[in-house]
Amino acid sequence: MRIRLKLARPQDGGGDEIADFELPEDPAQSGISGTWEGASVSTALQYLQRKVDPSLAYVLSCRRGLCDLCAVRIDGKVVTACTTPLRDGMLIEPTRASLQLRDTVVELSLVRRNRI
């Protein structure tokens, strides 16, 4: 399976970079049960950071679509990465460029006015 990540990184001069990632044939070797189609986008991001690109930034908390921390834009639609199954060729982007902090991580703070 192949997925595409749109990664804008300041150190790359601010331009958007669309990187293609090939997920290996056998997910079991990475401790993932079943097929990639049965795994979530969050699982793929976790796998890529662990095995392919240690610098990849992603966030994940509840793993069940309740906290919205892992929100991303997939093929144009904003969804939670943890509840979205992987599809071949899908494009994963930050939800909104103006909110982007790093890679898929965006500013979703609920307490911005009380932050120091």
């Binding site: 049960s33 079943g34 662990r50 930034a57 679509g65 509840t83 609920l110 006015r113 009380n114």
Partner: protein, 574 residues
């Protein structure tokens, strides 16, 4: 890096307990800062909780609910809690919970939260309590804390407690994930509300971030962990596909709903008959979890390391009519963020679902008194991070009550201490904490933090599953010693950029996990008899069973030491 500002109270963790503590501290006049590893209001286990808050009917009647006050008293509530905890719960904490949760709920109602009264609560002798959905509860405490004027640092990974020459806690050291800088935050009192240690188990219901840094910080500062071996598992959680791993949906539409689904091993045997012939699959959560894990350990499990939950013996009408009775089973198949229609269809066409017990709640934790004090000057703990209340098992809804009552107690006590600790001593361990934190980041080559995390995951599954034995516990302790000698000193982050550095986070979390897991293993080794959540395949002879005792682990002379204490029974004796 160090900021000159001194906060009266710093709270670590922004779940229900932490934000309750922070709000009460703020309302008592303190300057309060909350440090949270992720985004406040979006991380922590409060959001994922079932939403129960246990309260005696008599208390609810006082709050204006239409219930018979004689049907269920605070004393009944206390006794159920103590019995469920197999008489090792700290009865002073139990008394505080049952007596004070009413006021806490009253406050939530004043804030506009609308709880639903619970009709049936497993293990409780009455319905006992109310229900507030996890996300609604988190929203209420977040809003209340911000309105009160509590301040926040988000994406701040707290990793060590600053201490003065006499051991008084004077602040927190941690990493700002956004800037990649190690920072000191100075405080006259610190409240740990970091939740449980459940993310060290590979199959878990709880969120990602609960590795136990708060527990490790408390140990390093001189506090004790009580009953660290006690971890509650939720049985019958999904094993596969990966996307649903750890979700308790089959449990909620099966045994938890009272539906007579059968648990079968790979031979098709209803193995719970030999554990609880009367209740069978409707046995308590600890029994169902231990029985399921024992089947897998004996080689009688399913391909993915679980057992089968089957509805196939039931007439199709009963299965098709389940949505009429089950609140969890909506007509569209949605449960939490998922569409479980494919799983329901599988059940309808006669297949069983592979399930296994998942780590759910840390029963043990940081040792506190009724005010949340850890015994270390300036250090408090509350909520799931704190141990002792539930003993060897937890009743549904008692975590919600715990977080509200202990949050207030710890917040108020921290303010009182902060007033005595006005002229703050300088920290004597700041450089040491800083050096320890940055070491894995600066090391060029060595052990990748994720390799250590995976090793710890495998170790936990082997030795701290719902069914345990002495040989596996001893082997795991030997492996922990090897990790301390050979892996921790060689931990090396694979990328140099310190901002949003996942490897660095994993290094901090696994370093804490080593302490937490060693404490759990030590507690497990010394508790030689099965008790509640701690089930041993090699449980010692019954005529040799000691009187109920507490097991405490603390750091002494560079190692973790174990001691026991007799349990006091001011409310109810066995």
């Amino acid at each position: 890096m160090s900021s000159a500002r001194i906060w009266d109270v710093v709270v670590v963790g922004a779940g229900g307990a932490g934000l309750t503590a922070a709000r009460h501290a703020r309302e008592a006049g303190a300057d309060v800062l909350v440090l949270n590893k992720g985004l406040a209001g979006r991380t922590g286990a409060t959001i994922t909780s079932g939403g129960g808050i246990s309260i005696a009917d008599s208390t609810l009647a006082r709050l204006g609910f239409d219930l018979d006050p004689a049907a269920d008293t605070e004393q009944d509530f206390a006794q159920d809690t103590i019995r469920s905890g197999r008489f090792i719960g700290d009865q002073s904490l139990v008394t505080s919970m049952v007596e004070e949760v009413g006021d806490a709920l009253g406050e939530l109602i004043t804030m506009g939260v609308k709880p639903r009264v619970v009709k049936r609560a497993p293990g409780h002798s009455s319905g006992r309590g109310v229900h507030i959905k996890g996300p609604d509860m988190q929203k209420a405490v977040t809003t209340a804390a911000t309105r009160a004027g509590v301040m926040f640092r988000e994406d701040f990974v707290s990793a060590g407690l600053l201490q003065g020459a006499d051991g008084t806690v004077v602040g927190v050291t941690g990493v700002d994930r956004r800037t990649g800088l190690v920072e000191e935050v100075h405080a006259r009192a610190v409240v740990l509300a970091t939740g449980g240690t459940t993310s060290n188990w590979r199959l878990r219901t709880a969120p990602e971030e609960l590795a136990g840094e708060g527990h490790a910080m408390a140990l390093a500062a001189g506090a004790a962990l009580i009953e660290p071996e006690m971890l509650q598992f939720l049985p019958c959680c999904v094993l596969a596909p990966e996307i649903w791993k750890g979700i308790q949906f089959p449990w909620t539409i099966g045994p938890q709903a009272g539906v007579r689904a059968w648990l079968l091993n790979r031979y098709g045997e209803r193995f719970l008959h030999s554990w609880d012939p009367v209740n069978v699959e409707l046995a308590t959560r600890d029994v169902v979890s231990a029985a399921s894990a024992a089947e897998v350990a004996a080689g009688r499990g399913s391909p993915n390391g679980g057992v089968y939950l089957s509805w196939a013996h039931l007439p199709r009408d009963i299965i098709e009519n389940m949505p009429l009775w089950s609140k969890s089973l909506a007509a569209d198949g949605r449960y939490q963020g998922f569409d479980f229609t494919p799983l329901i269809e599988r059940i309808k066409s006669g297949y069983a679902i592979e399930v296994a017990p998942a780590a759910h709640f840390s029963l043990g934790g940081i040792h506190i008194d009724v005010d949340g004090s850890t015994g270390v000057a300036g250090l408090y703990a509350c909520g799931e991070a704190a141990g002792g209340l539930h003993g060897a098992n937890r009743l549904s809804g008692n975590a919600g009550a715990q977080m509200l009552v202990q949050g207030r107690r710890a917040g108020v006590a921290a303010v009182r201490f902060s007033r005595r600790n006005w002229s703050l001593q300088p920290a004597t361990n700041g450089d040491e904490l800083h050096a320890r934190l940055v070491a894995p980041l600066e090391r060029e080559t060595g052990v990748a933090p994720l390799e250590l995390a995976q090793r710890l995951g495998a170790l936990t599954d082997r030795a701290l599953s719902p069914i345990r034995d002495g040989a596996r516990i001893d082997a795991a302790l030997a492996e922990i010693a090897d990790i301390r000698a050979n892996a921790l000193p060689r931990l090396a982050v694979r990328q140099r950029d310190a901002t949003y550095n996942r490897d660095w986070l994993a290094a901090i979390e696994s370093t804490a996990a080593v302490d937490v897991l060693e404490a759990a293993l030590i507690g497990a080794r010394h508790r030689r008899h099965s008790l509640g959540a701690h089930q041993r395949a090699d449980s010692a002879a019954e005529d040799d069973r000691p009187a109920p005792f507490h097991g405490l682990v603390r750091a002494q002379g560079g190692a973790l030491a174990y001691e026991t204490r007799a349990v006091a029974f001011p409310v109810l004796a066995p």
